[in-house]
């Protein structure tokens, strides 16, 4: 490995935005056939760095060298010409177009000047097969879940046959099965000499896949270490202090049932789902992508309608498809898709954090904006949001910090039953612990949490009970003590195979 040729080198790269120095002298190099992990806290500058390699941003200072030659990467086309392909942290899909159209966007197969739809779908199917996704290329992207969107982005990037592949948190929303498939693909590429930049907040993935690690802190590259460096050491390098407990769950005695779901069914999405969440509990929901977890969560919260069954909060039945009624009864939902459903990207931090509490801060039609700002400031501090000020547009926050805003606005709302869909997506190890502490204090005060997560260690580490879904059905329930990686996966997978037979 050490003989491998260097493809790309970055020297003393600097980038500032109004009010923020995002990068302040970053050195980084990339060799043929290696997986080079970029590690750093939320807002450390990882995405900014890769955006300067993909032509999305221009550096203010420093240089980029490809094959030893200084280059200027001004546009995405420049990057493509140099053989650099990028999977961004925030997706770049057109929701109203189909999967097939998105996959060949910009270079659709043509016949007599018209798009050749049949060939387009054939190509798309080939690209999807490569990443092992079984979705019809004619589906509109808007109908996909977040994990499928991620796989789509991966398929798109792979099709470019680049020699440098940059992946910004590709595993943030994938479950173990897809992550393994992705790793398989990455290893194949590495064999063929492709150089890979890999960003992740899941430390266990580093040793599994990586060769070298560059640690960024506050916009500087502070250290370069081999990928088999112990996790504690990696944490210390990136956070600057050790973290004693990754999952600090303090279980409570379960109280009265707060949320009861009975026989919830929607044709084509989920069937006969029944469960209960009690005061003081954290109930985890595990399953593969497409198992219907998000669909159930959204239906319970009234974001989507359901065909039959019922949802009861403290014994009172909720009308279906009515978000306001659900909120009034004390439900809250942190959605999985922060860009599409969680945030008003063009509005500022205070505004976003105050969205859910807006109604309660209103007297006679007038909003107490000073009060709203004050609470926003408090939560932002609690969650350690890295920002220049509360008036900063959410669009310009780093991915993990955006996620903190989505969670933060619901923390302010004081919901009795908080449904979290992929709550720690893209959040760094240090901030995750903060969020777990907040979950602890919620349950300690008699509230309950229903947590959907594709991060199995998180489900196992934080849940008092684990529900497992497969193919739109609830296939099992495990107590914290019985739940292990294997027992959960066994449930999630066997049932899928069963369902396919029928």
């Amino acid at each position: 490995m050490s003989q491998a040729r260097e493809i790309l080198r970055v020297e003393k790269l600097g980038k500032r935005f109004p009010g923020v120095v995002a990068l302040d002298g970053v050195d980084f190099d990339l060799r043929e056939g290696e997986v080079h992990v970029l590690l750093g806290e939320n807002g450390a500058g990882k995405s900014t760095l890769i955006k300067m390699l993909s032509g999305a941003y221009q550096p203010d200072s420093g240089s980029v060298l490809v094959d030893g030659e200084p280059v200027e990467i001004r546009t995405a086309a420049d990057a493509q010409r140099l053989g650099i392909a990028t999977i961004y942290q925030e997706f770049n899909l057109v929701p109203e177009l189909t999967v097939g159209e998105n996959l060949v966007l910009g270079r659709p197969p043509r016949r007599f000047g018209l798009v050749d739809t049949r060939r387009m779908h054939e190509q798309a199917r080939g690209m999807l097969d490569r990443v092992g996704v079984t979705v019809d290329p004619r589906t509109r992207v808007a109908e996909l879940g977040i994990a499928q969107m991620q796989m789509l982005e991966i398929a798109k990037a792979l099709a470019l046959n680049a020699r440098v592949l940059i992946m910004d948190e590709p595993t943030a929303v994938l479950t173990t099965t897809e992550v393994e498939r992705l790793f398989g693909l990455v290893r194949q590429l590495r064999e063929r000499g492709v150089a890979i930049v890999f960003i992740t907040h899941h430390l266990e993935e580093i040793a599994q896949l990586g060769d070298r690690v560059t640690v960024l802190r506050d916009g500087r590259s502070v250290e370069q270490v081999p990928a088999d460096t112990p996790e504690e050491e990696l944490i210390r390098l990136m956070v600057g202090r050790p973290i004693d407990q990754q999952f600090p769950r303090q279980a409570q005695r379960a109280g009265e049932p707060l949320l009861r779901v009975e026989g919830l069914t929607r044709a084509g999405a989920f069937a006969d789902v029944s469960f209960e969440v009690r005061a003081g509990e954290v109930v985890g929901v595990a399953g593969l992508v497409g198992a219907g977890r998000t669909e159930v969560a959204r239906a319970v919260f009234g974001a989507d309608p359901y065909d039959s069954g019922e949802v009861l909060v403290r014994g009172r039945r909720l009308p279906g498809g009515d978000v306001r009624a659900a909120m009034e009864a004390g439900l809250g939902l942190v959605p999985e898709d922060r860009k599409g459903q969680g945030l008003v990207l063009g509005a500022d931090i205070a505004e976003n954090l105050g969205l859910v509490t807006l109604r309660h801060a209103t007297r006679a039609g007038f909003v107490d904006r000073a009060g709203q700002r004050e609470s926003a400031g408090r939560v932002a501090e609690q969650l350690g949001v890295r920002m220049s000020h509360l008036g900063q547009e959410v669009r310009t926050l780093s991915g993990g910090n955006q996620q903190k805003i989505v969670i933060g606005k619901w923390l302010l709302a004081d919901a009795h039953v908080l449904i979290l869909d992929e709550p720690t997506r893209g959040i760094d190890v240090g901030a995750k612990v903060e969020i777990y502490q907040l979950i602890n204090s919620l349950t300690a005060s008699g509230h309950a949490v229903l947590m959907i997560s594709s991060d199995l260690p998180e489900i196992l580490g934080m849940s008092d009970r684990v529900l497992v879904m497969a193919r739109g059905r609830l296939v099992g329930e495990l107590k914290a003590a019985e739940a292990t990686q294997d027992s959960v996966m066994a449930l999630a997978v066997t049932e899928v195979e069963d369902a396919r037979v029928h």
């Binding site: 109004p18 009010g19 923020v20 120095v21 969680g342 807006l358 007038f366 909003v367 904006r369 220049s388």
Partner: protein, 322 residues
């Protein structure tokens, strides 16, 4: 690595106001340029005249600001203005309704038109462009039906809205200021105002945060309707009669004023002050071109170019951060 940006001295506050508000800077440049080019421009009489010219457009545009912030568009405001004024004049003249009641009826007509727009949009799922285009036709047609095609005199008491107090303060300018303050307060301080920004910024996120999107759209378009009615009444007062073809094409000026003022047609952005500046830019430009005796034909060309330039400058300035 964070630099605090909220420390501002009052002197640099004025400078940053200009820098942040491309359109305000453009207005200042325009005023300076015109006063250099024409000695008649910077006189009190002329400036008041500009204010009167701007008033109707500005009031319409304040209403459009609400709609545009939610990501919609209202093409019916000019026609609704004409219809409301017509209903006022007609009920007062033909049915002998006392003028205060007639005025209330006129405002109610504005509200109803707005509500119909909103129902079609929020519940009928029609695109705002189509729903309000239909309303444009209906309202203009009804104005013609009611008036049978000819102007109707406004009640004298209402016509005072077109007067000038003490020879100096034109009432339309006063109404514009009041409506501007109302618009600013609605946008900045009320639940509905904040909801408008959220809906325009990301409707799904707003819905999942518990904002009743449909209901808020009803309020938004109803407000646009009321503002249109007020504008129509002011315009008719200045002319002393309600005319069925009044304010034709004003909806485009209103939209232009909102966009010049920094709002985004894709929603989520916009301010009352910006809209006022946008309306003033249009009025100053027309007035200046008249003073410089530019032909009416060329005026249209110049105004088109200036609209494009103003918005272009603003967009470029915003993109500067990349």
């Amino acid at each position: 690595m964070l630099v605090s940006t909220n420390v501002l001295t009052s002197r640099s506050a004025a400078r940053s106001l200009l820098a942040e508000n491309g359109s305000l800077a453009a207005l200042v440049v325009l005023v300076v340029a015109l006063s250099l080019m024409s000695g008649d421009f910077l006189t009190v009489t002329n400036l008041l005249n500009v204010g009167v010219q701007a008033a109707v457009t500005a009031i319409l545009a304040f209403g459009s600001t609400f709609v545009i912030i939610t990501g919609g568009i209202d093409l019916s405001v000019g026609a609704v203005a004409a219809l409301s004024a017509m209903v006022l004049a007609w009920t007062a003249a033909d049915t002998g309704l006392p003028w205060p009641l007639a005025t209330l009826v006129a405002l109610a007509v504005g509200v109803v038109c707005g509500l119909v727009n909103a129902v079609l949009i929020a519940y009928g799922k029609l695109p705002p462009f189509i729903a309000t285009l239909a309303m444009l036709g209906v309202a203009r047609g009804l104005a013609l039906v009611v008036s049978q095609g000819s102007p109707i005199e406004m009640p004298e008491e209402v016509s005072r809205l077109g007067d000038t107090i003490g020879g100096y303060l034109p009432v339309p300018v006063l109404v514009m200021a009041v409506m501007g303050v109302i618009a600013a307060v609605v946008l900045n301080r009320t639940y509905t105002g904040r909801a408008m920004y959220a809906i325009g910024g990301n409707e799904e996120a707003a819905r999942l945060s518990g904002i009743a999107v449909g209901k808020q759209k009803l309020i938004t378009y109803a407000l646009s309707g009321v503002f249109a009615a007020v504008a129509g009444i002011v315009l008719a007062s200045r002319l002393a009669s309600a005319q069925p073809q009044a304010a034709a094409g004003y909806e485009l000026d209103a939209i232009a004023a909102v966009v010049i003022g920094g709002a985004s047609l894709s929603g989520g952005k916009g301010r009352a002050l910006g809209t006022l500046v946008g309306a003033l830019i249009l009025a100053v430009l027309r007035n200046g071109l008249n003073l410089l005796s530019v032909s009416a034909f060329w005026q249209q060309v110049v105004i088109g170019v200036v609209i494009a330039l103003a918005v272009l400058l603003d967009t470029l300035r915003r993109r500067g951060g990349r």
